[in-house]
C-alpha cells in the first residue's frame, strides 16, 4: 500500500512534553505554509495509488478547516486516492466543534484521532494541555453525531499520580465513542519543559516498574473489552486497526508533505527540513538510501513492534540469517518469540521490552 502523511506544524499551545516539529507562535505563517504545502504536493514526481492519508501535527484542528479542504483537494488532484482510503485527521478536544467536524467529514475524512491524553484535569493541566474532561466528551459526542465511525483516542501512560483504576475508568467511558486506542508512554525528551520540571523536582513521574505494571494490566483489560492489541501501543476493535500505521510497520511506501515530514519509497528514506525557513526553501533534512543491513534491521525492528512479525526468508535475502543465531534460538526456547507460518512474531507479553529482543537479533 502507498500512503500520504501531511504535517500541520501549528499548535495553540505547545505541550510540556512535546519534542515534535510544532510551533505555538507561528500563526502568521499559516497562509504561506499552506501555499508551500500545496506547491509541494503539486510538484511531487510520484504517481501512486493512495490507500491512506494521515493529517497530523502539531494540531491540524488548530487551523481553519478550509486549509485542510484545500490540501485534500490538491492530493486528490495529484494522486489516485482509493475511494475506500482511510483518511485520518488529528485533533485536540478544545479545538473541535460540530461545524468543524462536519466540514472534515464532508471532505471525505473518515477517521478522527483525538488527543485525549488523560481524563484527569490535573494531569492535563500539568502537561500543558488546553482541554478538560468535559471538552473531551463534548467533542466525541459531536464527532459521533456528525457521522464519524472510526475514532481513535490517544492516551498517555506514566503520568503523575496515575493509577490503573483511573485508566480503566477512562477507557470504559471513552469506549462508547472510540474504536481505537493509542497508548504511549510519556517520554521525557531533552530540551522540553517537562525535562526541567522532572529535574527540578516540580513533577514526580512514576518509576518504570510501576508504569509497566499498569501497562500489562491494561493490555489484559483491553483484551477483555474486545480491543485487540495489534502493536506495542495500539489497540482496536476488529477491523478498526489503523491502516496508515500498519503501512509504516509493513514498510510500504509513503510520501510525507510539510515541514519535517518523512517519506519512504523503495529503499530510500528522506525528510523535509523541520524549520519554516529551510522548508520554504525546499530543503531536506536528510536523504538516506538503506543498505541491505539497514533493511534487515528495519524488517526486524518494525515487524516485532506489531503483530505482523517478519518473514524469515525475506530477512535472509538481506543477509541476516537467524536460523544459526544463538540469541534467536534462545528467544524461541524461552517463548519470547514464536514462529507462525514462516513468520517470526513476538509474544505480546514482551512488547514492552521489544527493543532488547530486537537488539539481540540484529547483532551482526
Amino acid at each position: 500500500m502507498n500512503s500520504i502523511y501531511v504535517h500541520i506544524p501549528f499548535c495553540e499551545q505547545k505541550c510540556k512534553y512535546c519534542a515534535f516539529a510544532s510551533f505555538d507562535n507561528q500563526f502568521d505563517q499559516v497562509q504561506k505554509y499552506f501555499d508551500a504545502l500545496q506547491k509541494e504536493i503539486e510538484s511531487s514526481t510520484f504517481e501512486f495509488r493512495i490507500g491512506s492519508i494521515f493529517i497530523g501535527g502539531g494540531t491540524p484542528s488548530a487551523v481553519s478547516p478550509s486549509f485542510i479542504a484545500e490540501i485534500l483537494k490538491a492530493i486528490r488532484k495529484k494522486f489516485d486516492v482509493d475511494k475506500n482510503a482511510e483518511i485520518t485527521i488529528e485533533a485536540n478536544p478544545n479545538s473541535l466543534n460540530e461545524q468543524k467536524l462536519k466540514e472534515y467529514f464532508s471532505k471525505g475524512i473518515n477517521r478522527l484521532s483525538v488527543g485525549v491524553q488523560s481524563l484527569e484535569n490535573k494531569q492535563l493541566k500539568a502537561l500543558g494541555r488546553l482541554h478538560n474532561k468535559t471538552q473531551v466528551f463534548k467533542a466525541l459526542k459531536a464527532a459521533k453525531k456528525v457521522g464519524f465511525k472510526n475514532i481513535n483516542c490517544d492516551l498517555l501512560l506514566g503520568l503523575e499520580n496515575q493509577s490503573y483504576h483511573q485508566l480503566k475508568k477512562a477507557i470504559k467511558s471513552l469506549k462508547k465513542y472510540a474504536t481505537h486506542f493509542s497508548f504511549y508512554m510519556l517520554q521525557v525528551e531533552d530540551g522540553t519543559p517537562l525535562k526541567s520540571m522532572v529535574e527540578g523536582g516540580r513533577i514526580k513521574l512514576p518509576d518504570d516498574d510501576k508504569v509497566v505494571k499498569i501497562y500489562h494490566k491494561l493490555v489484559s483489560f483491553f483484551r477483555k473489552q474486545g480491543l485487540k492489541q495489534y502493536e506495542i501501543s495500539n489497540f482496536a476493535k476488529k477491523g478498526f486497526e489503523c491502516l496508515h500505521n500498519l503501512n509504516y510497520w509493513a514498510r510500504g511506501n509513503y510520501l510525507g508533505f510539510g515541514l519535517g515530514a518523512h517519506s519512504f519509497v523503495g529503499d530510500t528514506r528522506w525528510a523535509n527540513a523541520s524549520n519554516f525557513f529551510d522548508y520554504f526553501a525546499g530543503k531536506k533534512a536528510f536523504v538516506e538510501k538503506l543498505d541491505d543491513k539497514q533493511v534487515a534491521e528495519e524488517i526486524v525492528m518494525l515487524g516485532l513492534r506489531c503483530n505482523l512479525g517478519f518473514d524469515l526468508q525475506q530477512l535472509q535475502k538481506f543477509g541476516l540469517d537467524l536460523e544459526n543465531n544463538d540469541h534467536f534460538q534462545e528467544l524461541l526456547q524461552n517463548n519470547i518469540l514464536f514462529l507462525q507460518n514462516g513468520r517470526v512474531k513476538i509474544n505480546p507479553d514482551y512488547y514492552g521490552v521489544s527493543n532488547l529482543v530486537i537488539e539481540k537479533l540484529i547483532d551482526f
Binding site: 504511549y184 508512554m185 509497566v212 501497562y215 509504516y248 509513503y254 518523512h262 514492552g352 532488547l356
Partner: protein
Amino acid sequence: MKRQEKIRNFCIIAHIDHGKSTLADRLIEKTGTLAKRDMQNQLLDSMELEREKGITIKLTPTRMLYNFQGEEYELNLIDTPGHVDFTYEVSRSLAACEGAILIVDASQGVEAQTLANAYLAIDNNLEILPVLNKIDLPSARPEEVKKEIEDVVGIPAMHAPCISAKDGTNIDQVLEMIVKEFPCPKGDENGKLKCLIFDSYYDNFKGAICLIRVFDGQVKAGDKIKMMQTGKTYDVTEVGIFVPNPKQTEVLRAGDVGYVACSIKTIQDVAVGDTITNALDPSDQALPGYKKVQPVVFCGIFPVDGAKYQELKDALEKLKLNDASLQFEPEVSQALGFGFRCGFLGLLHLEIISERIEREFNLDIITTAPGVTLKVKKTNGEVLNLSNPSQLPNPVEIEYIEEPVVKASIFAPPQYVGAIMELCQDKRGIYKGLVYLDTQRVRVDYTLPLSEIIYDFFDSLKSRTKGYASFDYEVAGYEKSDLVKVDILLNGEKCDALSIIVHKDKAYSRGRNLTEKLKKIIPRQLFEVPIQAAIGNKIIARETVSAMRKDVLAKCYGGDITRKRKLLEKQKEGKKRMRKIGSVEIPSEAFMSILKLDDEDK
C-alpha cells in the same frame, strides 16, 4: 683536570608541584640555551600527558653554557621524575650528579617527597643547595621554611636563595651558586672507561640510546663497549650531548653527560644503573648501585572490543620501546577474553600507561583491579609468586600467603594525626612512630600492606587532611597475611575478572560492597540476574538485578523510522562495550568499578 673544573653536573629535586620544571625552564632560558620563542612552557616535560598531570616522568638532560666571572661553565641539568613510583630512576639520575638543587615551596614547606628526595641525594653523596620557590606568593614564609629545612632535612639553609621561578626572580643567584657551591667532577680522563647509564630512550633510526654520565675515561664513535651487568658488547655509532635536543659530538670524556648510540635493538637491552666500559680495555669494577627494576603493581588490560587484541598488543609493544619497566604477558580471561597481565612500578605508572593506550592509540580498554605479587606457600611445599587473583589456589592447598609491605611516612599538621592514624589503621597499618618536626608539622610512620595503598589511599589521605598531608613510601619486603579470594558470581557463573584478594576481616564488607555496586552498574536484562560474592563455595553477599520491564514504548511519529533505527543502532553500538558472562551482559565499567570501591566504604 682543568677541563672538568668548568663542568657542573646537577639535578633538581622537589616535592610534586613545588616548581621543579618551572625552575628548569628558567635556567634554560636565562643561560640562553634556547631562545625564548622556542621555549614551550616546562620544556623538559615533553610528553603531553606529563604536561597535563604536571609531573615529570621521563628524564631529559640539558647542557647549558653559563658565563661566570669571565669564564664559561658547562652546566648539565639532569631532570628527575618526582614520583615515588620512579624512585630507582631518580636515584640513578642523582648518582650521575655532584650536586642537587632542593626546591621547597616557601609557603608549603618541607613535604614527604622533599625529604625522601633529599635523603636519596644524601645517600648519593651530593652537595645539596636548598632553594625557596614561590616567594611571590603572599603566603610565603621563607624564614620559617628555612628553619624547617635545617631542622627536618638537616642541611644548612640560611643562605638559600629565595626565588620565584614563575616570575624569574633571583634566578641568577641560583646559577651563581651552582657554580660556586657544587663540586666539579673529578674523574680520570685517561683511566679505564666507566659510564653510568641513568636513562634510555628509543630512537627509530639509531635504536636504543643510552643516557650516560662518564666517570672515568672517554668514549667516541667506533669504540667497542661492554655493558658490565648484561655482559653484552656493542660498537659505538655515535656520541653526543643534549642542548636540549641531541647533538652529535666527537667524544665524551670524564665528567661529561651525554648519550651513546650503538644500534641496540631494544630498550630492554639497556639496564638503567648499568656501567658501560671499554670492551677492549675494561674496568674491573662496575659503578655501585645497580638494581634490577621489578614491577610492584599488576593489572589485566583488555580491549573493550575483543577484536582489537592485536592493536592492544602493538600499543603495548610500542610503549615498551621507551619504557623498560613496563612488563606484560598474554592473559586469557573467561570474562574479558584475550588481553595482557601488565606489571608497573606503581599506580601512577599504571595510570599513565593506560591513559596513553587510550589516547595515543585510540583504544578503549578495560583495566582490572590492580594487585600486588603475593608469595603463596602451598601445603605441598611449593612457593608461587602470584600477580593474578584468579590463579590463587584452592584455600585448602594454601599453607600461608605473604604480601608485600611498605614503610610509609606521612607529613601533616598535628591536628590531622587522628584522621591519619584512623585511615592507616583501617588500611591494616602497623604504627611505627610519630615525630614532631616543629609545632606545625608531624611525621607519622606506618608499615602498610602495599595492596592497601595502591587503591585510593592517597585520595583518602588528602580528603581526610584537607589536602595538607603528603605521603611517601618504600617497599619493605614481605609479611604473612590472612588473605582470601572473593569471587563474584553472576547468575551462578564465576566471573574471573572480578575476583579480588582481600584480608579476611574485610572480605564480608568488600563482598557486600561489590555486589551492591555491581547491582547499580549491570543493566536489567530479560531475566533476573543474581549477583553473589563468595569465598570458596561460601556465599557471603547477594544482590539481584530484577528483570527488565520496559524499554521505550515511544510513538513512532509520522513515519520517522530513521530516528528509531538510529536509536537502536546506538544501543547496539553501546552493546559492543558489553561483556558476556554466561548469559549475563555487563558493561565494561563494571570491571573498573571495583577499583573505586573504597570511596563508598566511607
